[in-house]
C-alpha cells in the first residue's frame, strides 16, 4: 500500500512532494491572494501612506450606504423568492410521474442556470421592455398597462431578471435533497397517526433545512456579486455595490481608490461569510443524501 514511502529517502525529503504543487500555489497567491491583501492594505491607507479608517467611515455616506442597502435588499429578496419557488417547483418536479419529463425539466434548469449576464438582460428587454412582447400582449388582451409602475430598467425589473437565474440554481440544489426524502418516512409517520402538515413540519422540512439554508446563502452571494445583468439593464443609474465598484473602476485614472478598496473588502467579507456557511450547510445536508 505504501508504495512510495517504501524508499527510505522519502521520509527525509517529505517536502519534496510539495515542489510539484508550488507553481499552482504561487499562481493562486499572485492572481488571487496578493491582490486581495493589497486591497485590504489600501482600505486602511490614507493618501500620505498613513493608517486611517476614513475609507470605511466614508461607507456611511449616502451613495455607498444606499448601494449596500440596495444590493442586500435585491440579493435578499431574490434569494428568498428563488428558495421558496425553487423548493416548491423542485418538489413538484420530483413528483412528476414520467421519468422522461423529470429529466427534461432538470436539463432545462441546467441549461438556464447558464443564461445570465448581458444576453439574459436583453431577453428581458425583448419580453418586458416598454415595447416588449409581453408588455404589448398585456396591453392589448387584458388592457393592462404595466408601465410606468413596473419597469425592466428599475428595481422591479432587476428582481424579475435576477430571479430568472436564481430559480434554476435552487432547483438543482434542492432536488437531490428532496429525492433523499424516503417514502418510508412518510408512510411511517402517517401510519403512526401524523397528518400531512405534521409530516412536513417535523420530518420533511427538518431534513430539507440544510439544503434550504445552503440555497439561501448561495443565492444571496450569487446575486450580490452579479454585475453584467444589472449593468446591461440600468447602466450605472441604479446604485448597487457591484455597479458602484464598476463605476469607480472605469477610466484610466482611478476615482477614489481608498473607497473602492473599502467597498471591495466589505463585499468580500459579506460574500465570504455566505459561502463559508453555504459550505457548512452543504456538508450538514449531505448526510441525508447517502
Amino acid at each position: 500500500m505504501k508504495f512510495f514511502s517504501r524508499k527510505p529517502t522519502r521520509k527525509k525529503n517529505w517536502w519534496m512532494d510539495w515542489i510539484p504543487i508550488l507553481p499552482f500555489l504561487i499562481f493562486c497567491l499572485a492572481i488571487m491572494i496578493l491582490p486581495l491583501f493589497y486591497m485590504l492594505k489600501g482600505s486602511f491607507t490614507g493618501s500620505e501612506g498613513q493608517f486611517t479608517l476614513d475609507h470605511y467611515a466614508k461607507m456611511g455616506a449616502s451613495i455607498y450606504a444606499t448601494s449596500f442597502k440596495n444590493s442586500i435588499l435585491l440579493s435578499g429578496v431574490t434569494a428568498i423568492l428563488g428558495v421558496l419557488l425553487g423548493t416548491v417547483v423542485g418538489y413538484f418536479i420530483c413528483q412528476l410521474k414520467s421519468k422522461r419529463a423529470q429529466e427534461l425539466v432538470i436539463a432545462l434548469c441546467d441549461v438556464t442556470s447558464n443564461f445570465s449576464g448581458a444576453p439574459l438582460a436583453f431577453a428581458f428587454i425583448v419580453v418586458l421592455g416598454s415595447n416588449g412582447v409581453l408588455t404589448l400582449a398585456l396591453q392589448k388582451y387584458l388592457s393592462m398597462d404595466i408601465y410606468p409602475e413596473f419597469s425592466i430598467y428599475s428595481f422591479s425589473g432587476l428582481i424579475l431578471s435576477y430571479t430568472y437565474f436564481q430559480l434554476p440554481l435552487m432547483i438543482l440544489l434542492i432536488i437531490p435533497a428532496i429525492a433523499g426524502l424516503k417514502n418510508e418516512w412518510k408512510e411511517a409517520s402517517l401510519g403512526l397517526g401524523a397528518n400531512t402538515i405534521q409530516y412536513w413540519r417535523f420530518i420533511a422540512l427538518p431534513v430539507l433545512s440544510p439544503a434550504i439554508t445552503a440555497g439561501l446563502l448561495l443565492l444571496f452571494a450569487n446575486a450580490f456579486g452579479a454585475y453584467a445583468t444589472a449593468y446591461t439593464l440600468t447602466e450605472w443609474n441604479y446604485p448597487l455595490v457591484t455597479l458602484q465598484l464598476g463605476f469607480l473602476l472605469t477610466g484610466e485614472v482611478f476615482r477614489d481608490p481608498g473607497a473602492g478598496d473599502a467597498m471591495g473588502i466589505l463585499t468580500l467579507i459579506l460574500m465570504g461569510i455566505s459561502i463559508m456557511f453555504y459550505q457548512l450547510s452543504v456538508k450538514r445536508g449531505s448526510k441525508w443524501q447517502q
Binding site: 488571487m32 443564461f115 428587454i125 452579479a226 454585475y227
Partner: protein, 286 residues
C-alpha cells in the same frame, strides 16, 4: 377524489408557470432576431435574416468573436495545465495539501468579478509592472475565476478511479511519469476534464465583467459588443444574444451528455456530483 384532482392541477399549473417564465425570454429573443418588426404588434410582422446579415457584415463581429474564442480556449488550456497535474499529484502524494487545495478552489466563489478586477488593477496596473490591462492577465484572472468549475469535476473523476493503484501498476511495468500521466491517468479522468473544460469555455465566452475592467476597448470581446448593441441597435443585439444563448445551451447539453457517459463508464458513479459544480455558474457570468 376531489382533493386528488385539485392536487393534480396545482403542480401542473406551477410547473407550467415555471416553464413559461424560463422559456419565454429565450424563445422571444430567438423570434425577435428573425422578425422584421415586433415592437408594435402582438405577432412579428414578418420574418427575415436581415439582422444576422447586418451583424455579420460589421467588421467588429469577426474581431470580437475571434477574441472571445481565443480567450475561452486559452483559459481552458491554461486551466487544464495548471489544475489537472496539481490535483493529480496532491491526490497521489500529498494528501495533507488536499484541504488547502479544496479551500483555494472554493475561494473564487466568494470573489465577484468586479472585486477580482479591482484587486488586480490596484496591484498590477502601476509602473513598472503594468501587467493588469493585458489579455494575458485576463486569462490568468479567468483561470482563478473558473477554478471551481475545473477543479471539482477533475477531483471527482480522480476519486472515482483508483489513481494510486493505476499509477503503481503503470510504474511497476516500467512506465515513465509522463507516460503514466498521458496514457493511464488522463484517459481515466477525461470525463471530468471535458465537463470542466466545457463549463469553463461557456463561462468565459459569456464573461463580460472582468474583461471590461481589465482590457476594455483594447481587446473587445463578444459580450462587450453585445452590451454595446443593446444600447444602440436592438436588432443586432438580438442576433448577438441568440448566438450567446446557443453557445451556452449547446455547451450545457454536451456537459450533461458527457456526465451521463462518464457515469456509465465508471460504474462507481463518480461524476454524480457534477450538479454541484454548476451551482455558481450563473452568478459568474451575471
Amino acid at each position: 377524489m376531489a382533493t386528488i384532482r385539485k392536487k393534480k392541477s396545482l403542480p401542473g399549473l406551477l410547473i407550467g408557470g415555471f416553464l413559461f417564465y424560463m422559456l419565454l425570454p429565450i424563445v422571444a429573443t430567438y423570434i425577435f432576431s428573425i422578425a422584421t418588426r415586433w415592437d408594435r404588434s402582438i405577432l412579428p410582422e414578418g420574418l427575415t435574416l436581415e439582422w444576422y446579415k447586418v451583424a455579420f457584415a460589421d467588421r467588429w463581429f469577426l474581431i470580437v468573436f475571434k477574441n472571445s474564442l481565443v480567450l475561452s480556449f486559452s483559459t481552458v488550456i491554461a486551466s487544464i495545465v495548471i489544475i489537472v497535474p496539481t490535483a493529480y499529484w496532491v491526490h497521489l502524494r500529498v494528501p495533507k495539501a488536499r484541504a488547502l487545495l479544496d479551500l483555494l478552489s472554493i475561494l473564487p466563489f466568494a470573489i465577484p468579478g468586479v472585486v477580482l478586477s479591482l484587486g488586480l488593477i490596484r496591484l498590477y496596473a502601476k509602473p513598472p509592472l503594468m501587467l493588469a490591462r493585458t489579455p494575458t492577465m485576463l486569462v490568468a484572472a479567468y483561470v482563478i475565476f473558473t477554478m471551481p468549475f475545473m477543479y471539482r469535476p477533475v477531483v471527482n473523476s480522480l476519486k472515482a478511479v483508483n489513481i494510486k493503484v493505476l499509477t503503481e501498476a503503470a510504474q511497476s511495468l516500467g512506465s515513465s511519469w509522463l507516460r503514466t500521466m498521458g496514457q493511464v491517468i488522463l484517459p481515466n479522468i477525461m470525463p471530468g476534464i471535458i465537463s470542466g473544460g466545457l463549463l469553463v469555455f461557456a463561462t468565459i465566452f459569456g464573461e463580460f465583467t472582468i474583461a471590461t475592467f481589465l482590457v476594455g476597448a483594447r481587446y473587445k470581446t463578444f459580450p462587450m459588443q453585445l452590451v454595446y448593441y443593446t444600447r444602440r441597435d436592438g436588432r443586432i443585439a438580438s442576433a448577438y444574444s441568440v448566438i450567446s444563448f446557443t453557445i451556452a445551451w449547446v455547451s450545457s447539453l454536451i456537459i450533461l451528455w458527457v456526465a451521463a457517459w462518464g457515469a456509465k463508464r465508471t460504474t462507481s458513479g463518480g461524476p454524480k456530483k457534477e450538479k454541484e459544480l454548476k451551482i455558481n455558474s450563473a452568478g459568474d457570468q451575471s
